[in-house]
């Protein structure tokens, strides 16, 4: 195979690996935003999803002689979902029940989540009197298990079957979210809550319950993006700040995807590609590499501007996004 083809295949596969956390993050944020809540805490939730999974996996590996892959996966998965759920509940309690400012709450949640992630990422071993950095061999190996045989097929195997199960789950969840929003009466009610809570309320929809559930489920989905990153992309380890700005990109992709989970799959993969493009372009000088890394952000800005200039009704965020709902007392 010519080297260029090999390189392109490797690039595409790497784009997928980079794109998966973004699919989780943006799908989670879309569901949240559909209820009228702009959750800027998604980056923090994704950190939390990652570190909670690590803690779960670590505890299991620490106390077990011969860790079994499937159990390690289940424990860390559960721990991750739990961690994200707590974060999402903090956010929804503050913004739905206490009607706090969504932006400020979201930013605080991100500061908190990133802090928790980096704290335990750096100090978890210390609690158990160990030194060095975290490395969850067994758990990560289980997450990275690929489909036997299929993944060995040249080209197609690498492109389509070389990923851990969380990658496929991301796409399934995005498609399910799309189906839920567009094809079920609950999805219809959720969209109504985000567009006009007063209308939904008058039509007999329990606005508060929908807001809570959307934020909770959206947060848990986003948290899985963090889990995928630590367990699969980086192989069961933690680097402080390693997850970087992917959470913010996920929020930006929501706009890019025009609030449609289906679109977010492709957008996330494109952004994943842009994210690591610089590694695969040969002969780049160091400064040029940094310029190429700017691409995802420049593209986002261009899309933001384009959408605002076009000003089309369907491309707008949910109409009540960012505002609290208070049914006026009589």
């Amino acid at each position: 195979m010519p080297i260029i083809v090999t390189k392109i295949i490797a690039f595409l596969a790497a784009s997928v690996v980079q794109g998966i956390p973004l699919i989780y993050g943006s799908t989670g944020e879309i569901i949240t935003e559909k209820s009228g809540h702009l959750n800027l805490g998604i980056p923090g939730i994704m950190y939390m999803g990652g570190i909670s999974g690590i803690i779960g996996g670590y505890l299991y590996e620490h106390y077990t002689e011969n860790p079994i892959g499937i159990i390690a996966v289940l424990i860390s998965l559960f721990a991750s979902l739990f961690g994200s759920a707590i974060m999402a509940l903090i956010y929804s309690f503050l913004t739905v029940t206490l009607r706090a400012n969504q932006n400020v709450t979201g930013l605080a949640l991100t500061i908190f989540g990133v802090g928790v992630g980096n704290f335990f990422g750096g100090s978890l071993l210390k609690f158990f009197g160990e030194t060095g950095s975290i490395y969850l061999a067994a758990t990560s190996a289980a997450y990275r298990t690929t489909i036997p045989f299929l993944s060995k097929i040249p080209v197609v195997g690498t492109l389509l079957f070389s990923y851990g199960f969380l990658a496929y789950l991301a796409i399934i969840i995005a498609l399910l979210a799309s189906w839920f929003l567009n094809k079920t009466r609950y999805g219809l009610a959720l969209r109504a809550v985000g567009e006009s809570p007063a209308t939904a309320d008058a039509a007999g929809v329990n606005v508060t319950a929908y807001k809570y559930l959307a934020t909770l489920i959206g947060g848990m989905i986003a948290g899985l993006g963090g889990l995928y990153f630590v367990m699969d992309s980086t192989g069961g380890g933690w680097t402080n700040g390693g997850f970087g700005d992917k959470g913010w990109l996920a929020i930006a992709i929501v706009i890019f995807a025009l609030w449609k989970p289906k679109n977010s799959i492709l957008c996330s993969l494109i952004f994943g590609g842009l994210y690591i493009l610089c590694v695969y372009i040969p002969g780049l000088s160091a400064p040029m590499k940094e310029i190429i890394k700017m691409m995802p952000y420049l593209v986002t800005v261009a899309v933001l501007i384009f959408i605002s200039i076009r000003n089309k009704r369907e491309n707008m965020p949910p109409a009540s996004l960012g505002t609290s709902y208070f049914r006026e007392e009589r």
Partner: protein, 509 residues
Amino acid sequence: MSAPAIELKNITKTFGQIVANKNISLSVDAGEIVALLGENGSGKTTLMNMISGIYFPDEGQIFINGKEVVIKSPKDAFKYGIGMIHQHFKLVELFSAAENIVLGLKEKGKYDIKQVSARVREITEKYGFDIDPDKKIYEMSVSEKQTVEIIKVLYRGANILILDEPTAVLTPHETEKLFAVLRKMKEDGKSIIIITHKLHEVLSISDNVVVLRKGEYIGTVETSQTDEAQLTEMMVGKKIDLNIERSTPENSTDRLVVKGIDFTNHDGVKVLDDISFTARSGEILGIAGIAGSGQKELLEAIAGLQKLDGGEIVYMNPSTGNAEDLRNKTPIQIRDLGVRLSFVPEDRLGMGLVGNMDIIDNMMLRSYKKGNSVFLERKAPKALADKVIEDLEVVTPGPTTPVRRLSGGNVQKVLVGREIAAAPTVLMAAYPVRGLDINSSYAIYNLLNEQKKNGVAVIFVGEDLDVLIELCDRILVLCAGRVTGIIDGPTAKKNEIGLLMTKHTGGNE
């Protein structure tokens, strides 16, 4: 004879000290259309909100098909087959008609929007509606949106329909279509209550008319046995003497000449249609009309806040003698021309004042730009605030209290006080006494009279006909964005104005 579909007995509802409904009774049979007639603030909407579960009556009973029921939420109202079509549509703009119709329903079986559309089509064919269930709400005209609201309640199996001023937003042609549909529903055995001010519509659609006035039940008459004159009399009542002073205008000259202005709003509705009048110095020009007849847009157009389609607004400057064209100028440009125009808008805390700022800072809104300094000058506004508080007897802990914390009457005094302090030559006030108690109202009337004596051209938009008649020198009557008459204040008759207010000239369609 079977029991009426819905019957109200002795319903009373108070909000704080205000009695919104007092001992009201009415009944509607199956296959009957009842019109509920009354001026603004007569308690029609409050009454209907109690049937649809938004408010809960303090006293009285509601019977459905002869059985007493308790309606404590919109859900209960649905349960008893009651559907209300509000004046302000509750629709999700981005959804299609079918999606809006099915929203919130917990039907059994698979959710399939195509099936919903099919069922909606059945309803539209049955009653002769003209609507595409897959069309998005934001692409719809006002009348289509209203149709969606009606189908929404029918889809939910409503037998008793309440329509709150359904024709206020419709063209005569659309109104005819609506009435045709309502008649079909009536044939189908539905009971319909329609709230309206428009007498000719009442006469053409209803079987019986229930008239309310100032929260009280005035009477029920059979439509075939009545006429416009009798209904107007019942609606506006006898003239009440208010003892508002009125001096004879002196040295009146033309100050503001409005010629044929037209204005179309965002929704494409023609809100001002060929409006012409002259406001004279030293005179109070009243503007009467049903709410939403174009009063707000007219004043905003003069103040430079609306882009007009056509016409002229000419200001005769008393100091220079020049005639200035104000049309489509911004508020700053108008001020820069030396036009001293003051405007007390209807939306006091949303437009006229900033709720979170204190009285002093609100006094500055008009004047802060004066002078070349980059800094604010708070001495004069402070003095003004103190003066307004003292002169108008504003009840406040002090001039540094945010206006949001003041009561409605005091908020209004602050706003009017500021606008008068600018020594205007034209003063426009939209509903300046709305929500105010008697004493505050009289304080405002006195202020307007004082301005009039100072030679200001005052334009007063009001809703209480007694006040308009006693206060104003001339009264311009608006109906659906058109001038239906300009009459002399001292000799005006209440029912004459009432007729003009509801005199739909038919439009162009």
